[in-house]
């Protein structure tokens, strides 16, 4: 059995499971954010009407808001706070960071566990050797909250083996975007993607993190990286709670093995209007932008902020561009201050925003007029997510975003790296 099969078997009290089977498994952690949390809470209290079985496993994080912009949203947050208090679940209010970063940094995510959440990027936690996937409100309200369980169809696994070394100016984010373009939107529906190979194993945990993040956009159920010493040390540094890591058997079977060598990759840009529209930088460079942003579920890491600083040291943001920086968590924000990056980037003309998901769904920021364009480290670029449906969003690495902010158009970061 592979890692996911072993975790699902253990969590459902079976010796073995096989792909295609439906199992009911114990859930170790449920991550909710402010929007989905509200919808889930309503179903739970209005339709399910049962006690919360394991409140300590449920975490709600306010990250789409950093501050309610109108009364409707204020009421939503107020009701979420009330829900959290009534049922004794964990609550992280606005300003603590985006749901996945806060979940990890507070030790809720441990190897070998089952993690679910209503954010579609929940598979990101496969980075730490979890079986992690996004479910809908009714699963959370109907079975996770009252019973600590959920049903799963055991997925077929595909192994994605990456080898090689990325060139200077190319980052793991570029590799990830290239993968989405190559596998294609919906190119791996229902599958479990195991990311492996020397390229993956050499990466630090926060860089590995970008790989399972993309699984939803290629349609997969989950993605994961088998835990190794780096994973264990990382999780140990965040929590004292015990955990029992799982790795796949030697004779694990995969529906397919996709082998890629990534050494030749150029920086990649995801172009409007969908996440599958990925091009090498040369094909997109020159498109004018008015907005640039580091932030979102995959961005705003300390690594991203460092990359932006690398580009912006002794340079300025182009006058026609607004470059917005959204740290992924309060801890990352304070770290960036300590490293002098907040000052450096502010002086270069960027603007800092509270730790959150930033422009994701444009609740506090990120609305654009028709024909305005943003380049960001966000995970999605569908039209209508950021103000006018005629606004455009490019997705790229922090290096490329920062280079574009300097140049006023989509730009190749290698121009700025000596």
């Amino acid at each position: 059995m592979n890692m996911v099969e072993k975790i699902l078997a253990r969590a459902s009290g079976r010796k073995a499971v096989t792909p295609g089977e439906v199992v009911v498994a114990n859930v170790d952690c449920l991550l909710l954010h402010d929007l989905s949390g509200y919808l889930t809470a309503k179903v739970f209290e209005e339709q399910v009407k049962r006690p919360m079985r394991y409140p300590e496993r449920v975490v709600m994080i306010f990250d789409h808001h950093f501050s309610p912009p109108n009364e409707e949203q204020a009421v939503l947050l107020q009701q979420n706070r009330g829900f959290a208090r009534r049922h004794g679940i964990h609550l992280f209010d606005c300003g603590n960071g985006n749901t996945h970063h806060v979940g990890v940094q507070n030790g809720f995510i441990r190897p070998g566990t089952v993690v679910v959440g209503s954010d579609s990027h929940t598979p990101i936690h496969g980075t730490l050797g979890c079986f992690a996937t996004g479910l809908g409100n009714d699963s959370h309200a109907g079975t996770v909250m009252p019973f600590g369980k959920a049903w799963f169809r055991v997925p077929e696994a595909i192994q994605v083996r990456l080898t090689g070394r990325h060139k200077p100016g190319v980052t793991p984010r570029d590799v990830v975007q290239w993968l989405i373009g190559t596998i294609g939107e919906g190119g791996a529906i229902y599958k479990a993607l195991e990311f492996t190979g020397p390229y993956i194993h050499e990466l630090g945990v926060w860089d590995r993190w970008l790989f399972p993040m993309i699984t939803v956009d290629v349609g997969a159920k989950c993605g994961y990286i088998e835990p190794d010493e780096k994973t264990i040390a990382f999780v140990r540094s965040l929590t004292d709670r015990p955990f029992d890591p799982v790795t796949g058997d030697r004779d694990s079977t995969y529906e397919a093995v996709w082998d890629w060598e990534i050494s030749d990759l150029e920086p990649q840009v995801t172009c409007p209007p969908t996440v599958g529209y990925v091009k090498p930088i040369g094909a997109a460079a020159g498109a004018p932008i008015q907005w640039a942003e580091l932030g979102g579920h995959g961005g705003g890491r300390i690594e991203d902020i460092r990359m932006a600083a690398q580009i912006l040291r002794n340079r300025k943001v182009a006058p026609e561009v607004k470059f917005n920086l959204v740290p992924s968590s309060r801890a990352v924000f304070t770290q960036a201050i300590r490293e002098g990056l907040v000052e450096l980037l502010h002086e270069a003309g960027a603007t800092w925003f509270p730790a959150s998901t930033g422009s994701n769904q444009a609740i506090n920021m990120g609305a654009m007029a028709a024909d305005e364009t943003m380049i960001s480290t966000h995970a999605r670029n569908f039209p209508g997510r950021n103000g006018s449906p005629e606004a455009k969003m490019y997705l790229a690495s922090a290096l490329t975003v920062a280079a574009s902010a300097v140049k006023g158009c989509v730009a190749d970061p290698r121009e700025f790296l000596s």
């Binding site: 950093f66 204020a74 107020q78 000052e343 800092w352 920021m365 609305a367 103000g387 606004a391």
Partner: protein
């Protein structure tokens, strides 16, 4: 009999040798500030069918009330302003990242002693902190000024406010003003020019003078004034404006004041303006212990560098109370830079504050909105019903020190407990 500041400055700007209180004169302001309302001015201009500006040099635009945009319509309005500024050569254009208009224009050296400044914001009285006459107008008037260069003004009568210092421990310019507004009521200075004098004012920082002049609006004042001095000159000097570039206007030694009021700062205690009017002021012991859901350190009244430092002094090494949100919105980009550099920013962040980008933020309803039954302690200048969300929510106003102390305890708290 001599002339008060307002009479002298308006005579100068009207091109007349002598004006008297009550007289209506055509004034040519030196600067016309418009913020979020700028797009309306541009649309009105289009409607008037003219494209000629009297003097683009006198136009200042700051995109402060909603920054950045949350809906496409706002993004579109802001783009209209941006493009208009480029097309018309308006070089005093400050975009969504700059901060609150008043503070930004003062920091940039655009406000100088002896100027007459009109703005689409009632708190334009704040410009008195640099010895200028600042007053609020509607967007039609700004549009008219863009085109004709002038507007009608009634020459105000003047009120003298004498503040004696030094202030008692734990109090600040905010407490002085709340006390004054409580005593004189919300229309205590309607149509009047309020001049601040006295030993406390003479050695006062520009930041505190800004708080005084800003809050004079809540007395109904047309404008406010602090006599320019060495502190003014050095503030301007640091911003690249040498004394040769402005002409100070001082009141004569013996002007006619319709009213003279003295406040003794030496016996002051922290003051709180209770819901829903700014003149519903009580000494802090009468409201201490009131539970709050949110604390807001922001607005043109009290989100300046000195205000954030004051809050950080109390928050250093402490955490905000569980269940309380602390929202901090620095007034300008420059303030962000200074607080990051000296560690104030980190102190606030580590205490649990949520620090937004610079701008009007919750004071203009841009975030920090409350649901029914919630309570905010705010350092802003207004606590009107519905200003921060629900009509059934409450806003208390106090100084940055009160705000910090309140955030730590979760209930309205006298900052002297922490000093």
């Amino acid at each position: 009999m001599g002339k008060a500041f307002a009479e002298k400055v308006l005579a100068r700007a009207a091109g007349l040798s002598d004006v008297r209180p009550g007289e209506i004169v055509d004034v040519y302001p030196d600067l016309y500030m418009s913020h979020m309302a700028s797009w309306r001015c541009i649309r009105t201009l289009e409607k008037m069918g003219t494209d000629k500006l009297y003097d683009p040099e006198r136009i200042a635009m700051v995109m402060d009330h909603i920054s950045p945009a949350r809906i496409a319509k706002t993004a579109d309005d802001q783009r209209l302003c941006r493009e208009f500024a480029v097309r018309k050569g308006i070089n005093k254009f400050y975009d969504v990242e700059a901060g609150i208009a008043h503070v930004v224009l003062m920091e940039a050296g655009h406000i100088r002693p002896g100027m007459v400044v009109i703005g689409t914001d009632s708190h334009s009285t704040i410009y008195g902190a640099l010895g200028a006459l600042g007053t609020g107008v509607g967007f039609s008037e700004i549009t008219a000024a863009w085109v004709t260069g002038k507007l009608w003004m009634k020459v105000p009568e003047s009120i003298k406010v004498i503040i004696e210092g030094p202030l008692a421990r734990g109090t600040s310019s905010k407490d002085v003003m709340l006390k004054l507004i409580g005593d004189l009521t919300a229309d205590g200075a309607t149509y009047c020019s309020v001049e601040f004098h006295g030993s406390y004012v003479e050695r006062l920082s520009i930041s505190d003078r800004m708080t005084l002049c800003n809050l004079a609006m809540e007395l109904g004042a047309k404008n406010a004034f602090v006599r320019p001095d060495e502190i003014t000159r050095s503030y301007l000097g640091e911003r690249g404006v040498p004394p040769g570039q402005y002409t100070e206007i001082h009141p004569d030694p013996d002007p006619v004041y319709v009213k003279s009021v003295t406040i003794d700062g030496r016996s002051l205690v922290p003051q709180i303006a209770c819901p829903h009017t700014v003149d519903n002021v009580k000494p802090i012991d009468q409201v201490a212990g009131t539970k709050v859901n949110q604390v807001f350190v922001g607005s043109c009244a009290n989100a300046k560098y000195e205000d954030l430092v004051e809050a950080a002094r109390i928050l250093k090494g402490r955490k905000i109370a569980p269940g309380v949100r602390l929202l901090v919105s620095p007034a300008s980009k420059e303030i962000v830079a200074r607080t990051v550099k000296d560690g104030t920013y980190s102190i606030l962040l580590e205490a649990g504050a949520l620090i937004t980008n610079p701008g009007c933020s919750a004071c203009a309803g841009d975030g920090g909105v409350m649901a029914d039954g919630e309570v905010t302690l705010s350092t802003a200048n207004r606590n009107f019903q519905g200003r921060m969300g629900s009509y059934n929510a409450e806003i208390y106003l106090g100084s940055p020190a009160v705000a910090a102390a309140t955030a730590v305890r979760g209930v309205i708290t006298d900052p002297r407990e922490f000093l």
